[in-house]
Amino acid sequence: MSVATPTLAGLPRLLAGVAEHGSLDLVAHLDVHGPAPELPAPGRGRHSALIDEVEAAGLRGRGGAGYPTALKMHAVTAARGRRRTMVVVNAAEGEPASLKDRTLLESTPHLVLDGAALAARAVAAGEIVVCVGEDTPEVLATVSAAAAERNRLRERIPMRIAAVPGGYVAGQESAIVNHLDGRAAKPRHTPPMIFERGVGGRPTLLSNAETFAHVAQIARHGAGWFRGLGTAEHPGSTLVTLGGPVVAPGVYEIGHGTSLRSLVDAAGGLTESLRAVLIGGYSGTWIGASQAGDLTLDDGCLAPHGASTGAGVVALLGESACPVAETVRVASWLADESAGQCGPCIFGLDAVAGRLDEWAAGLAGDGREEQLRLASVIRGRGACRHPDGALRFVASAIRVFAAEFADHGSRGPCGACTAAPSLPLPGYERGSPTPALAGAWR
C-alpha cells in the first residue's frame, strides 16, 4: 500500500511532508507544520476559542457518522460541571477495507496528538487516551515513540496509549469506553451518551484520529483556510482508502467533492474495467459502474445513492470479480463479527448470511424476498449500528447486482466465484477459496 496524494491544488494538508520524510518525528513535524498555537484554556463557564473555530470550520467527524465535531465538544463542555473530562482518540480502525487511520498515525503522529492536546485543553480534560488496535503493533510503536518525544513540549495534560482489541465492532465508540473501563470491548446500550458519561463516568470527547488531526490544522490556520477545500456542507480535506483494480491502491488525501474519476486517475488508473464501487466500507453502499462515472465523493452527491463517504473507504470491484461471491463472503464475516449481545443481530445476521449463501449457490431459488423480509425484521433492533450497517451493505448488493444474483439463484456458482477475493478481510488470505461458498460445493 502506498501513501500518495493526487496533484490537486492545496493538497496535501494532513499528509504534508510525508512524501519527503516518510514518518514525521517531532523535529520534522515542527519543521513542516510549525508549533501548535498556544490557545488559552477557557475559564469556568467561558467559551473556548478553539471550539468556536472548529464550529466555524464546519468540521465533521471522520470516523463514519460525520457528526459535527464542535457539537460534540460543546456537549462535553456542557456536561462537565466541576469535573475533569476525558479525551479519547479512536484509531482502532476495525474496518478491514480502511487503512487511513493507521497510515495517518504512522506517517504524521504528532498532528493527531497536537489535535488531541488542543481539544483536551478546550474541554478541560484531565487525561488523553490514544486507542490503537492491538493488531497493528507498528502503529503502537510509532505513537508511543511520538508521545515520548512530546515530553519536551511540557504539555500539562497526561497522555497514554491504549492497545484495544481488533475486530469490527470493538472500534465502535461505546465498545472503546467499555474496554478502557476494564469491561469487554463490546458496544453498550445508550443512553447515557458518551459525552455525558464516558470513560470512568466522565464526560468524554471521543473522536476518530483523523478528526483530531483536522482540529490541529484548524487551530493553526483557521476556519477560512479549512473551508478553502471541500464543499459548504462537508468542508476540508479527507483521507480515503482506495482499494481494488487500480495501479496504486492506498491512502489518498482529497478535498470533499473530488470526483471518483480524478481519485482513480491519481492512483494511476484502472487495471481492468469497473463493475461497481463500494463506498463507506462494509456498512456502506454499492454503486454500479454505470452510475459511478460521474460520482463525486461528498455526501451531497452520494445521498441519492443511499451512500455516504463514511470513514473514507472507496473499494472498486473489477469485471473479473464475482460480486455475488464477494457479497456472501463479507456478509458471512459481518455475521461472525457480531459482538454476540443482541438476539436480532446474533440470529438475524446469521440468517441473512446463511440464506444469501444458499441463494448464491443456487439452492434456494430467488432469495430476494427473503432478504427484504429479514432486513425489515432486524433493522433498528441492535444496541449498536452493526446490524443496520450489515443490512445496508447486503441490500445495496442485491439491488446493484440484481442480475448476477438472479443468475446465481437459477444456475448456481459462476466461474469467477472461485477467483481470489477482491474485498479484503482479516484472516482470509488472498487467493484462498471463498469460505462461505465452499460448503455449498461439497
Partner: protein, 86 residues
C-alpha cells in the same frame, strides 16, 4: 410527557414474558425476541405495560418517559458512530 415501551437488546434473553403479558404491543420475531414500536403508549395500556416490565426476568423491558415533542425513534441528540468503524 408521553410513555414509550423500549427493549434493552443486550439485556433481553428472549424469555417472552412481555409478549405473553402484553400481546397488544409486543410481537416476537422468529427467534423469540420482542419487537416493539416506538409509539406513545395509550393511557389504558400503561398499567399493563408496567406489569410486563416488572415481569421481565432480565429487566430488559422499559417504559420510558419522553418529552411530548420528541420524535419517537429519535429521543435525543446523539453523536452516533456507524457500527464499528472509527
Amino acid at each position: 410527557m408521553s410513555r414509550h415501551l423500549r427493549v434493552d437488546p443486550i439485556a433481553c434473553e428472549a424469555h417472552g414474558m412481555c409478549a405473553e403479558l402484553l400481546p397488544e404491543l409486543v410481537e416476537l420475531d422468529e427467534w423469540g425476541y420482542p419487537i416493539v414500536d416506538g409509539r406513545a403508549l395509550a393511557p389504558e395500556l400503561v398499567e399493563h405495560a408496567q406489569r410486563a416490565v416488572r415481569a421481565c426476568p432480565t429487566f430488559a423491558l422499559l417504559v420510558e418517559q419522553r418529552a411530548a415533542h420528541a420524535h419517537p425513534s429519535r429521543p435525543r441528540p446523539q453523536p452516533k458512530n456507524s457500527s464499528a468503524v472509527s
